[in-house]
Symmetry: C2
């Protein structure tokens, strides 16, 4: 990560950089240049070498695009980043516009206004989504615009650009993946047949990793490999830098996977016929290079990947136990040492990660860990840094949202841990969150429900108190892949580019993570993973239920007995009984006694 | 209502009738004739004179269309009617096809297959929806079909057709309606201006009644007037049979409403420009007669009508009390007399209706009353008839779903009343339904929720027991209008032609009516009306809550104390306290004592 303070101190440097780029635009006769915050694969988390908007503006937010004309520059982002963007763009001469605010022009309106008739719009088509471009193209048809879409001009001035990620691919054995590549390919080809297409282009990295049973380390905490795949009826082509696949070469040969250079796909697609593309996510350069009828539909892999097979579920369940043993040890350590040692948020997070590192099939830490004391926990995306962190005092609560990447799965768990004197109201909040969590965990529902229709089961106790956690209740999760994986999600409305209206199916894994966040005071979240299971099928339909996968004490020190209802109390006791049974075999005598106390019946 | 037994006894007569019609088709060179089960206004309930499909087939179901070719005849309907249709169509030579079943061709497929190139499709365009026709037209474009859409040929052979309804229109004073016609027109015209249209055609009868503050009695228990309205910027045209408006003529003159004959609209529309039509509901004859650019969007009246004004709400609240006094008297009568008198389902229903008839501003009974003993109550749409009813025995439960049409509103309430020995399991079911009902009644939710996203709050206790009530949890309700009124509805999915995804707004009225229905054994439902109110507005958004409008004892004899949770018990006690306070002033001493007992704290 770059340190944005550099830029704010050196707004002038940024100003000069933008001017240099604007001179380049004049030289190349580009009227408007568009820079999205994206890579060629529509990835959630960008490798540093793809952070072009960040380089050109100094704004480091995870979301927001940029437009540069020959004499102006604008960055757009949403409410989360208004304050940060203002700071980071100060003195740079770059304007900041609010997204989704009628007071400001949209990106598309701004591009339209600033393009003259017969003008030229420049962009790197590889990082611009095809669907967005098609819509813009229609909007601007009357202006007869020329599109310079093969122009990554920022590259020409970006001298110290981070290197293209060159991690080594590794194999995920079928004993972990649960299904062979052949078996998955068979299903994909069946779907291709149904749609009468001869090729399916895959551009999203987790879909490729899932299909080929391979992984890499090209993105931070997201074990994927920068590549494209074309599935044909009798062969598979993997487009990837050759140096990266040395360790899996024999596997690819054995499986008849043809390997071509990462960039070759852009030429190859020119001759393709009858192609199935995932139109919501493919980049525009690929689509602009094609001259064939396109079947535009989300890839069938999205749903195949979301519905975990029994081996993936079994592995994940075992993995969660080992992961939870680490977290439980951490809880014990924290509660026992916070009074006598100096524990910072950073040290606490490191202590837990070190415990995870000892686990057998550990690959790396999960993305977006949050370790936050008291009021810091009220900021949902708080990140302690060397420059900015808190020390845990003798009284208070500590929220830790973390997980690991293992050969046997991806974990994501949050616990809020108390010590010393904790305010009665904070305990009431903790208990409300527990009630929310338990209500969702116990839900039985008819097949046909989506995350949108069940969300309120978790939200109701919090809404009853006229509070809201203002984020989803839960998200899907990958298997040694993204810690956020679609399409399913639990939220009462459809968020932008999300699919919370996806019907929930047996085998999907979702998180259950309601919370209460009181600005400037404290934040509480209790998060487990759950897998959807089939229950009774009767005249009313197929019932489904959640099987909780995560077993780690929910801090009894933070329960407010006055507001805990009977049903939740019984659920908690039953849950803690399971926690003890599952974790104690992995613990020493002292740990077992601690666990017995913290999983006692209340 | 016709008695369908006539037809089943006389399948041969029906056969001859169809043959006579087929001869007519040959004579007129019509290859295929389509008969939907509809009137010109897309009404929920058809007047007998519009029951063309019933006349031509003998099938009396409330849903299902018919297609007649020169040598075949087919009726389609859904699962509710498979058994009934089979009986009623026996011996008629008419085939029965299941709707939404891939084993059978759809109506559109059947029409396509049976139409030769350059063939002719006949139908009465006034009763065929425009949207359906447009889609069929596209589907058949390649066949170069001629559409004889002004051909109500069934009329030519229907000698004893019931007369066109000629009820007298009456005025709904602004003290009831809460807003004047002018005020409503102003809002409608504002919406027309926004859309740049010069005319808005209204074809749905409740929209017309609402806008003009008039009512009629042209449909059973639905106080509407068969008419069309065209709203222009400076005048309003009401198309209606002149004899029907004698009582409101001076009102219409005063309000500058131009009156034309009911049928005149079909000629008038030929010259219209820039028209706004409610494309989902308008009939095809109107649209086919127009030669202008159409603005196709649901009428703005749908939402204006759904959001009740404060006077409508105030009137309804008062109306509900008088209505509930009647129902409470009925409960007392039933519980006291069922052991000694012969009470049939029909007598019970009549007793209650007679009590309602005594209420000041009573207009008529509400539509679709259900009075059902024990296992009959398990049939959600059970209707006791002179030919088929049950006598209430000394033990059991009686479900009554009823309401009235009043100048001060439309009521819809269900109570399940017990007497004698009632099985423990039935009481458990009653208590589960009560918990469901109370959970929804107590919900606080953020603005933005739809009926789809909140439904599960009511359904959860019933799903937990692996049961389901297989219908909506609640529906909107009119003001002296339809007992089912859109667009809002509470159900976890969007039903066909329904809009449960409508955002719930302050002032909307919905019913709260979960139930348990055990086939062959018993049925339980507890239904109140609720109005949506604004709660706290804070950093999280605008909270909304439900204010219960219906105050009538929920039978304490049917509560199972072992399964009643504390929260529901407290809700019930608070509710019953209000019931006593609101109803007792209208009751005599003996009734008050009874009410005190049946609203006691438990």
């Amino acid at each position: 990560m770059m340190n944005y303070n550099e830029y704010t101190k050196e707004g002038k440097t940024m100003l000069e950089k933008v001017k240099r780029f604007q001179n380049l635009l004049k030289e190349k006769h580009i009227d408007v240049y568009y820079i999205p915050n994206s890579d060629a694969h529509d990835s959630e988390f960008l490798n540093d070498c793809f952070k072009v908007r960040e380089y050109m503006s100094g704004f480091t937010g995870s979301s927001g695009d940029m437009v540069i004309t020959q004499d102006k520059a604008v960055v757009w982002s949403d409410g989360r980043y208004f304050i940060q963007a203002q700071k980071q763009l100060e003195g740079t001469g770059i304007d900041f516009y609010h997204l989704n605010d009628k007071e400001y022009p949209t990106i598309e309106e701004y591009i339209e206004t600033n393009l003259p008739e017969n003008g030229t719009l420049g962009f790197d088509g590889k990082v611009v989504k095809a669907k967005w471009f098609d819509s813009l193209y229609k909007q601007l048809e009357y202006k007869n615009i020329y599109y310079a879409y093969q122009s990554d001009y920022v590259n020409e001035i970006w001298k110290d650009r981070p290197a293209f990620p060159m991690s080594k691919a590794f194999l995920l054995d079928v004993k972990y993946a649960g299904r062979s590549m052949e078996s998955k390919l068979k299903d994909v080809r069946k779907e291709m047949n149904k749609r009468n297409v001869s090729r399916h282009i895959l551009t999203t990295l987790d879909d490729i990793a899932w299909l080929l049973n391979i992984r890499g380390k090209d993105a931070e905490s997201n074990p994927v490999l920068l590549s494209y795949v074309v599935v044909e009826m009798d062969r598979v082509i993997l487009y990837v830098k050759e140096e990266k696949i040395t360790d899996i070469k024999s596997y690819l040969i054995e499986k008849n996977v043809i390997v071509k250079d990462y960039e070759d796909i852009y030429d190859d697609v020119k001759t393709f016929n009858d192609v199935w593309i995932d139109y919501e996510r493919i980049n525009s350069a690929l689509v602009l290079n094609m001259n064939t009828k396109l079947h535009k539909e989300v890839t069938c892999i999205e749903m195949m990947k979301a519905i975990k097979n029994e081996i993936e579920i079994k592995n994940s369940l075992e993995c969660q136990i080992r992961d939870c043993v680490a977290l439980t040890r951490f809880m014990k350590w924290l509660k026992e040492n916070v009074y006598t040692e100096t524990i910072t948020e950073l040290r606490a997070a490191k202590y837990l990660n070190d415990l995870r590192r000892e686990i057998d099939d550990y690959i790396e830490v999960g993305y977006g860990q949050i370790a936050a004391y008291n009021e810091n926990a009220a900021m949902m995306h708080y990140q302690a840094t060397e420059a900015n962190y808190s020390i845990l005092k003798k009284d208070g609560i500590f929220l830790i949202d973390s997980g690991g990447q293992y050969l046997s799965g991806t974990t994501d768990i949050t616990r809020t841990i108390g010590f010393g004197n904790v305010d009665k109201q904070w305990k009431i909040d903790f208990t409300t969150v527990l009630i929310s969590h338990a209500q969702l965990a116990q839900l039985k529902f008819l097949e046909g429900c989506s995350g949108m229709t069940i969300d309120i089961i978790a939200r109701q106790p919090i809404w009853e108190r006229e509070l809201d956690y203002q984020c989803g209740t839960g998200h899907g999760i990958g298997y040694l892949l993204g810690v956020h994986e679609g399409p399913q999600g639990i939220r009462w409305y459809k968020a932008l580019n999300r699919k919370e209206d996806t019907i929930l199916k047996e085998g999907m894994i979702v998180t259950n993570e309601p919370g209460i966040y009181i600005k400037g005071s404290h934040g509480i979240r209790t998060e487990n993973e759950m897998v959807i299971r089939k229950g009774v099928k009767n005249e009313y339909g197929q019932f489904l239920y959640f099987e909780t996968m995560t077993f780690c004490p929910i801090d009894l020190d933070l329960i407010d007995m006055d507001t805990l209802d009977k049903k939740t109390r019984l659920w908690l006791n039953a849950y803690h009984k399971q926690v003890f049974e599952k974790l104690s075999p992995y613990m020493n005598k002292e740990e077992v006694e601690w666990l017995r106390h913290y999983t006692r019946e209340i």
